[in-house]
Symmetry: C2
Subunit: 396 residues, 2 copies
């Protein structure tokens, strides 16, 4: 059985993070993703660390399995070639600042006339409409403006950034949903459409019930460290050797916990008898918990918890994630072979589907323009002389 | 033009957060989502705060616009009705602990025989395969095991949870991608498939290039507060009145910044002349920056930056997000009217598509079983007598 998007061609003008994160997902779903890069310099991310043997692993992690062609979109010939390619693909993705494609004469309104079946997906900082549309955006700006920084971290620390680029990544994920929905609809209508996703909008969509909470008591939700706002005890504690998570999600687990630590007095203490009272009395409960938990190592606790059916979990560092048995069993660490750096382990595909064989490897990321000649010949029937001329003229 | 998923029916057995987050997206894309709830108690989230007039706004935020039927899946009649419904829908979603549906005799292997076109989407903590598959999961456990907590927060603070339930939400997003891809493929093959998404897998997929970084120097990436790992100065600073983000992403912006603050000496100082040297000398640069930034208020800085083409952004609290002009212009705050609580503002749909009219309102969330009679009559032709009997027997 072919993969879900097998046969689908993506002309991928995206760079850096949000767009490439999206098109990596399309790759894993089976699409053929053809990166369109600026001749010589290419995707900016090729120049971002970490590096190994001068190869950007930042770039490799986000562009494995894709193809790369170069095309100078500032030349008339480059534009003409792009338009011809638009006729041969299903999807065009871009994450330029809004207005850039229009200025090049390559906006959706132009391209849809060339190929009405085209799905045009744009991921941008602020979206293609609204007063701030054309402002530049960075991940940390989206995190700051979108509210997530105001609820992450500690009551006494400055506003805290989420440790991954959730501003970019969320936009990549939502764009991937929109593209797939547009592909489905195109099967029925025969028509493409524009998908317009903004980093800021996506941050807003991730805020869970923060808006509702604010409307109940007119108080802004604040950062509360690593505990749960309404379930107690449900947070990180320090054991003898390290931190770990103790998520006691209900009263039954609380009774179990108190029993195994020989503190049955806590079960009957009316301050701690239900989750609601435990949350009300969190100020006194946490010091009691801390004294109990510090007595054993994380391994001892995890073992004791497991025997007694209490959940608990380590705070895995990156090396521990990479060697976690469940992560490995789910094939979430895959290997890329690259002639410059040898083999590299990167994240696998979390969308497990009946029709996606769970491959343990990925092809490496392309060199700049590695597939230019091949794709121009295959997709547009260009011959060698023409390709050589385009190269000489700086078009590709 | 209809919405992308108009006409698509989802039998939604999901509860709490990850699953309902996914099916809310399907709603916004035009699908009809029919929640299947346990008679009387319903989705656990109905009992989670915040509340207004005894209505859970946690539940409402995640289930607006859906329908609700009750069905006791532990009874033979309830199972039979579910199987009949499976024949009438396109998608079944569930986020039970793996094995639960099989124990009920309602696993994918059984249901696909009833309806080979069915797309069966399961979101779970650890996935439907692997040694930890059947373990219970919570958001904080996924965040802890998946590595994101090890890179979020401050060097001197305990491991820090992301302030939203990114463990659940990421699984909801990836499940939505898988479902849409399966819908697209079904148009070609006529067959459904199983989509199996794990919270832990999704956390791994979000880690950007953390794996690559670890493989370069065998050092685990650590939390670094609110600054960028390789771009400087690119972080939160404290102005006279409040914190804000100063993302100086390149040398050109650095020159502009130094010029407007009348510190041209910093431009020529070899310690700070390029982004690379600024990052190398971050320890001395940040105190200099702090002294500069504290001199003006955030408003003064933002105005000065805007005039000079330097990006900068406020750390918006939730109320500020809700009144942000761009957020409002993008229709990212929508209104729900509910007879119990009046009107409530919630997050809108961040996937802007040509074929999705940008409605400023959403229907409220259903009461438990509000649509049971209607749906059983419409989908299975049950008459009133039969429905009354089922109610009396505790099946619905």
């Amino acid at each position: 059985m072919p993969k879900p998007l097998e046969g689908i061609k993506v002309l991928d003008l995206t760079r850096i993070l949000a767009g490439p994160f999206c098109t990596t997902i399309l790759c894993d779903l089976g699409a053929e993703v053809i990166k369109v890069e600026i001749p010589n310099t290419g995707d900016d991310a090729r120049h971002f660390g970490p590096f190994k043997n001068e190869l950007s692993l930042y770039f490799l992690s986000l562009n494995r399995e894709k193809k790369s062609i170069t095309l100078n979109l500032k030349t008339d010939e480059g534009k003409a070639i792009l338009k011809d390619l638009v006729n041969k693909v299903d999807i065009l993705t871009e994450n330029y600042r809004p207005g850039t494609m229009e200025k090049l004469g390559l906006g959706y309104d132009v391209l849809k006339k060339i190929n009405p079946k085209l799905i045009y997906a744009a991921a941008s900082g602020f979206g293609h409409t609204g007063p701030d549309s054309k402002k530049p955006a960075y991940d940390i700006l989206a995190q700051a403006l979108g509210g997530i920084m105001s609820v992450t971290g500690w009551p006494d620390s400055p506003p805290t950034r989420v440790g991954i680029s959730i501003g970019d990544i969320a936009a990549g994920l939502y764009t991937a949903i929109g593209i797939n929905a547009a592909l489905f609809q195109r099967e029925k209508t025969g028509l493409g459409q524009k998908v317009d996703v903004a980093m800021l909008d996506c941050q807003v969509a991730l805020l869970e019930n923060a808006f509702a909470r604010y409307q109940v008591d007119a108080k802004n939700p604040k950062p509360i460290g690593n505990r749960h706002p309404t379930v107690t005890p449900f947070q990180v504690f320090k054991a003898k050797d390290d931190y770990f998570v103790v998520p006691i999600g209900n009263d039954k687990l609380w009774v179990k916990f108190c029993t195994i630590v020989d503190r049955k007095d806590l079960i009957t203490n009316e301050k701690y008898v239900t989750n609601a009272t435990r949350t009300d009395n969190i100020e006194t409960l946490i010091p009691i918990m801390e004294k109990i938990i510090i007595e054993k190592t994380v391994s001892e606790w995890i073992e004791l918890f497991e025997i007694n059916g209490i959940p608990g979990g380590r705070i895995n560092s990156i090396d521990k994630v990479m060697s976690n048995k469940q992560v490995l069993a789910r094939n979430m660490i895959v290997e890329v072979e690259d002639k410059k750096i040898g083999s590299l382990k990167i994240a696998g595909n979390p969308i497990k589907m009946s029709n996606i064989p769970d491959s343990k490897t990925r092809k490496t990321a392309p060199e700049i323009g590695e597939h230019t000649a091949e794709m121009l010949s295959k997709m547009l029937n260009f011959d060698k002389a023409r390709i050589d001329k385009l190269k000489k003229d700086g078009v590709i």
